[in-house]
Symmetry: C2
Subunit: 231 residues, 2 copies
């Protein structure tokens, strides 16, 4: 398998675009081995809309055509290890790469679903519900790849990063987080997220994990299933 270690980058003014260096296959897909990334668009006046987060184990259909035509970028938060895989190779002999195949299937299934859930989140929920919903989603996704402990997980995101995903100003994200803390639902300090009252969060956010297609994902743990190239 052509494992191709990719660059990690320092954070600076938001996310760094992943540069697809060298001779990447035309139908290459990007897999996150370690660290966080996101898809995002840039609009006028430096505004940025984060379209979705990518956590370890996630696959990003980074066909170059999609990247240029779809009009969005992929960027990282802090040091990140990634690999570019040949889509053809995985598809041609799926039995050789069962975990990757499953990850790919989940990705194709969940991508659209998550994008549509985000439309709903940004469009229909209040700031309070919105933050709660994102917190719920991230926790569940991280839990699935074994990156949570008890009710806690690491989210290497600033309040501005959250705001750009939720279409809220960083100031308002701050106020909402404070309220969530005062309400005893969750705390978020120094990139550490703690869900104090998970069921209440789910209820308030109107969170139904069905859109994540969890059963299709099983428990892929990137660190154990994939031989990672060190960055």
């Amino acid at each position: 398998m052509t494992l191709r270690s990719a660059l990690s980058a320092q954070r600076r003014h938001g996310s760094n675009q992943i540069s697809v260096a060298g001779t990447s296959p035309a139908n290459g897909v990007l897999i996150i081995l370690n660290g966080f990334a996101c898809r995002y668009k840039v609009l006028h006046a430096g505004r940025r809309q984060i379209l979705g987060y990518l956590v370890p184990g996630d696959i990003c259909g980074l066909r170059l055509s999609t990247l240029s035509r779809g009009g969005y970028y992929v960027g990282t938060f802090g040091p990140t290890e990634t690999a570019i895989l040949s889509l053809e190779r995985i598809l041609s002999c799926p039995e050789l790469y069962p975990n990757l195949t499953r990850a790919l299937q989940w990705s194709m299934l969940a991508e659209e679903s998550i994008a549509r859930e985000w439309v709903t989140n940004v469009g229909q929920r209040t700031a309070y519900e919105r933050v709660a919903h994102l917190i719920c989603e991230m926790f569940v996704r991280l839990q699935l790849v074994g990156l949570t402990h008890d009710n806690q997980c690491t989210l290497p995101l600033t309040q501005r990063d959250l705001g750009d995903a939720l279409s809220l100003s960083s100031v308002h994200v701050n106020r909402v987080l404070r309220q969530l803390r005062l309400d005893g639902l969750a705390t978020f300090h120094h990139s550490e997220l703690v869900l104090t009252d998970r069921s209440a969060l789910h209820r308030i956010a109107g969170f139904d994990s069905a859109y994540l297609h969890l059963q299709a994902r099983s428990c892929i743990r990137p660190s154990t299933n994939i031989t990672a190239a060190s960055a």
Copy 2:
């Protein structure tokens, strides 16, 4: 080809859910022959988020799994003719159904892209820009299937329907439409949309049609390419 004529429904309090009656194939896809439809979610308090419009020629990946798990519905605006096609059959002999195959490819390519553009639209643009952007998108998509004349097209949507797609109240949609009219950009009366100043609209909306993957769609005209079953 198993053409299966489906029901048309009267509009009432928003969109009517398409019921997939009878023995639909597990991997059936829905194609809009005539009329308008949309994907939508329903939240608490009767709020509805429209996730995307479906115009004639559009294909809706209505795998039952997606429908139930993705958590959204498909509904129609007014009388609509649809057909359910067997995905396997099209994929197994694409040379028999070139237009359908192309439509399917476009659909898979553009679906995700459009969903992400909508996140951006709802999240980052002002009400004015948002309405302008939706207008631009709908016009281009209808133009592609020959449903426009000059700068005019029919959009069988109420201001509330637009609001549910844009995450705006119908009252505010009304005010924005008035402003667009006063500014000489577009008018929308009795379901007739007229783009008075298309380039200005594009500029204001920040509309870049790349996300629609137009070149992949070519000019599919549903009424000429598909033998429609009458409803």
